[in-house]
Amino acid sequence: MDAFSGLMSGFQVAFSLEGLLFVFIGVFVGTFIGMMPGLGPISAIAIMIPITYSMDPSIALVMMAGVYYGAIFGGSSSSILLNAPGVAGTVATAFDGYPMAKQGKAGKALAIAAIASFTGGTVSVVLLMLFTPLLSAVAISFGPAEYFALMFLGLTAIASLADGSAIKAFISATLGFMVVTIGIDAQTGTSRFTFGNPNLLEGIDFLVVALGLFALAEVCTLVLNRNEKDDGQSKNIGSLRLSKQDIKEMSGPVSRQSFLGFIIGVLPGAGATIASFIAYITEKKIAKNPEEFGKGSIKGLAAPETANNAATSGAFVPLLSLGIPGSGTTAVLLGAFLVLGVQPGPLLVQDRPEIFWGIIASMYVGNIILLVLNLPLIPYISKILKIPRPLLISLVIIFSLIGVYAISFNTFDLYLLLAFGVIGFFMRMFSFPAAPFILAFILGGMMEQSLRQTLTISNGSFGIFLDKPIALSLIAVGLLTILFPLLKGRRKYKVS
């Protein structure tokens, strides 16, 4: 079956009455689950797996694509409205989305997010279809040295992300990396920093750190500011309508980041999170007015939203062509595939073309339904902002606690969550940015593993990086991003 007729048969599945109905259900449930702080695409897909047991595989996968896109959009909504990103991929969305919502432009922010997600998603599905063989060939040639270099670059890039002190940003990142070393070392089995506590052996879950540092720390701020009179500004979402100027402003980042995000998404390990951070940084660097970033910039919101969606489609390339998930979300999706008796890999296109093309087609349809469903729903979604502050505080606390409890069924993790909330609050008080902490926490484990693999290959010599041009140049760029803000800070100080 050639690509065109394959795609057409895929559309037949996705556009059938049953197909459309289940995409719709998927998108709706996904958006709902994704909006709850702490529950992201991973939980949404995992939760929906049992429901698909008795379904026809092609319809089930069409629904899953809907859940996936819906959850990502839902996560962006809670980032924008509550500054409580449910998943790491939408952390960067909150940087400019939340300030916009605070300025009374939540409706506009959500509309920008929906359109940017739609464009990023659609462009990258086209790319996924066209470049799957080519791009997977590039990614296969990457060894641990290149992976390490790539993640190193992702991490050092946060230096320019931090407003205020770059040194504090690096301290945050180092602390985040330290927290991820807690638990059993995967390579030697040594238990590190567990103090004999069995609950720490498997390490600390991402949700505990994310919900603590972001949602609970936000609760503290809400408690302090709860009596501030709202002049209705932040409660009114404002118009959804975008002006021509707005569209013009977002067109640059959206078109650039659709491609960049896709490419980053293809690389295993470097998924939506790195793509969104890199998108934010590059747009900030090339913007004419970078000082607007972090204060409600349209570009700063459109860039990560486009990139995280483009990257999530990009992450399908290694999953579909090699059968290797490149991210946590695609790992759970792989689980969903296997439950339905579908084995992704090089043979999928040949053996089960109706599944392969059904997935591609459902990604197109999922994107469209998302836009059609969510744009009209935005005024209702943003009702969250009308909840009185004291109730909102109680509800966010409960959501955070449930989010953690539902993955671990363990009250120890809840105490840890509270501890990270306290840490997050103090970090805010003393102007240590939380984003580098969480990014280092997510990347730390993979970075350690790839660095140790690299050094094991080279018998412990760092010289191996000199023989790997791609890795070497990535690290060089990374080092420059560290040195640049430090030197810049110094020069400014001398002048003043």
């Binding site: 205020g164 040594t190 302090l224 009185p388 505080i393 109680s394 409960i398 009250t411």
Partner: protein, 152 residues
């Protein structure tokens, strides 16, 4: 005074780095590993110590906004501690008493404490919310939240 805040923070960071380093040096060795489990932690410890030193030497003044962030009245500190205390009690009793009862009580009491005056709305929200979430998770999503003293 301004520069001192950074330096105090730097000292705290340095203490964390030193404790972490001490723990790293006490990690058990594994003879067959070329790159053992303690390599990365030691590197991180020294890196953090280095950054702490940079922060100590950083003479950059704090902005007014940074100072403003740290001004918290005594009343607010008490508020935060009480809420934290309520969360601790919630966690401690969650598996014993059960999700529905604890969540209802938590939402009502916490909102009440934070000056929410609409008692009827408060009661309705807390009851409906806990029951809805419990139903959603236990029956629709099959994720069992603790039932506790309630029979369902």
């Amino acid at each position: 005074m301004l520069a001192k805040t950074n330096q105090k923070a730097a000292l705290v960071v340095a203490v964390i780095a030193i404790v972490y380093l001490l723990l790293s040096f006490n990690l058990p060795g594994y003879t067959n590993a070329l790159i053992d489990a303690d390599v990365i932690p030691k590197g991180l410890g020294f890196l953090l110590l280095f950054f702490a030193l940079l922060l100590y030497l950083d003479k950059k003044n704090e902005t007014e906004a940074d100072k403003e962030k740290r001004k918290i009245s005594k009343q607010h500190v008490i508020n935060l501690l009480v809420v934290a205390g309520m969360i601790l009690i919630y966690i401690f009793l969650l598996e014993m008493i059960g999700f529905v009862v604890m969540t209802t009580v938590f939402i009502f009491v916490c909102s009440l404490y934070l000056d929410y005056k609409h008692h009827v709305t408060n009661v309705i929200t807390s009851v409906v919310f806990s029951l809805a979430i419990y139903g959603l998770f236990n029956y629709l999503l099959k994720i069992n939240l603790p039932a506790g003293i309630l029979p369902f």
